[in-house]
Structures are given as structure tokens and as C-alpha cells.
Symmetry: C2
Subunit: 132 residues, 2 copies
């Protein structure tokens, strides 16, 4: 079962410039940057009041995020739904013919998995099951 | 002041197919379609639990949404922030050099305005001030 949207991933070229933009223009604060994606991205979370915006800046020219930026430019990258039971969601998606990208992984927020955007009407979908 | 994210706009080719997808794959229900954008789009709202997803299907080949789909394909279109005072937000954005697309309009949800994605790191931003 989906509990709601946990965060929105947004690809940016320069994390500090974007953090400053959200602060200055919208009055929204963001968390100190951390490394993610096995060291291929820098991440900061903007608190909008209900849903987080995950700003994602690639490090270097390799990696998935760098390729995304090159191809699509800055903008929306993915939507993350908080789910009650990620194993059940992944099994359910597979049984409906959707491609799950890799396996369920353990991240900072909990267990996560991604669905291929080809199967989800153009929106890259992440599931997260948060740890209690 | 921004109160939170009100909805996420997502461009789709076929509204009924997408509604069925959200229902079948994610268990998320959506509202009956209505016309929007002066009759150039069909709109349905998916209830994710906290934030709405606004599915947007163009009608015909003209109009902004049809052009978006042709250029970018299905996927994220805009993010809508609920604000306390839309006139103040628009004035503030203008004073910081951001382009406001057109004027403040009255819609089904309340007063709305859009900021140009060129000025917002690739994310088309809508503000809505909801009616009490």
C-alpha cells in the first residue's frame, strides 16, 4: 500500500546554486549536502512543508545522473512513494509486467527500489519502506 | 510564504489508460476527468495520500500540453506550491528577476500563476492561493 509521496528527485547542475535559489526565491531551507549513489551524486533535501525535494547533482561526467542531465537538462528526475511493504510492492509490480531496476537496496531512508520509466508513463518511480 | 506542495502535473497521452495504470499498479484512485486550459486539456487528480498528481492529457494537436508531449514525451510537467498570498509571491519572484508567465488567473482551485522553467532550474512552477 502506498502511504503518500516521500520526496521528488530533481536533477541540478550546481547543488549550492540550487539550494540558494530555493532559499532566496521560495524561502525553503535545505539540508547539508551528503554523498549518494556510491559517490556519484551530491544530495540535499529541500523541506517544502509536506514533501521533500531531493536535489541531485552529479559528481563528474559518468554515472546515471550525469547522463540524465546531459540528455534532459535540469528538472524532475523521479517521484518517491512511501510504501508499507516494499517486497510486496515490488512483487506486485513484477507480476503486472513492470520492470524493476535492479534489486531492493538499503539506503539512508530505508529499503528502496526503482521501476523503469518506460513502464510508468514516463515517470521514474522509486518506492521506499522507511525503517521504524 | 509557501505552505507545501499542492499537486504535481504529469503529462499523459491517454488519460483513461493512465488512470487505470495508477489504480491497477499503485492502488490509487483518481477523480472524474474535467476539461481545463480553456478546453485544450483533460484533467484528472490522483490522490496519493498527501499530494495530488494532476494527470494532463491534451485535446487535439494544438495547445501547450500537446507541444510538451510532442517534445518531451510523457512525464513530469510542473510542480504546484500552495502559497498564502499569491500576489506577494508573484511580486517577490518578479523583483528577483524571474519571469511570470502571463498574469494571475482564477481557476478551479483558486488563484494561480506560473514561473518560467528557464528561471527555476528546469522545473515549471505554479503557485496556487486556495480560496477559503
Amino acid at each position: 500500500m502506498i502511504k503518500g509521496i516521500s520526496h521528488l528527485g530533481v536533477a541540478v547542475k550546481d547543488l549550492e546554486e540550487s539550494r540558494e535559489f530555493y532559499r532566496k526565491v521560495f524561502g525553503l531551507e535545505s539540508s547539508d549536502p551528503i554523498l549518494g549513489g556510491d559517490g556519484t551524486i551530491k544530495v540535499s533535501l529541500v523541506d517544502t512543508g509536506n514533501v521533500l525535494i531531493e536535489l541531485l547533482q552529479p559528481i563528474g561526467n559518468e554515472g546515471v545522473m550525469a547522463k540524465f542531465l546531459e540528455k534532459r537538462g535540469e528538472g524532475f528526475h523521479h517521484i518517491c512513494y512511501e510504501v508499507e511493504n516494499i517486497a510486496a510492492e515490488v512483487d506486485s509490480a513484477k507480476s503486472k509486467g513492470l520492470e524493476v531496476l535492479g534489486e531492493i537496496r538499503s539506503g539512508a531512508e530505508g529499503k528502496t527500489a526503482f521501476l523503469h520509466p518506460r513502464d510508468t508513463h514516463g515517470v521514474l518511480v522509486e518506492f521506499v519502506e522507511k525503517e521504524e
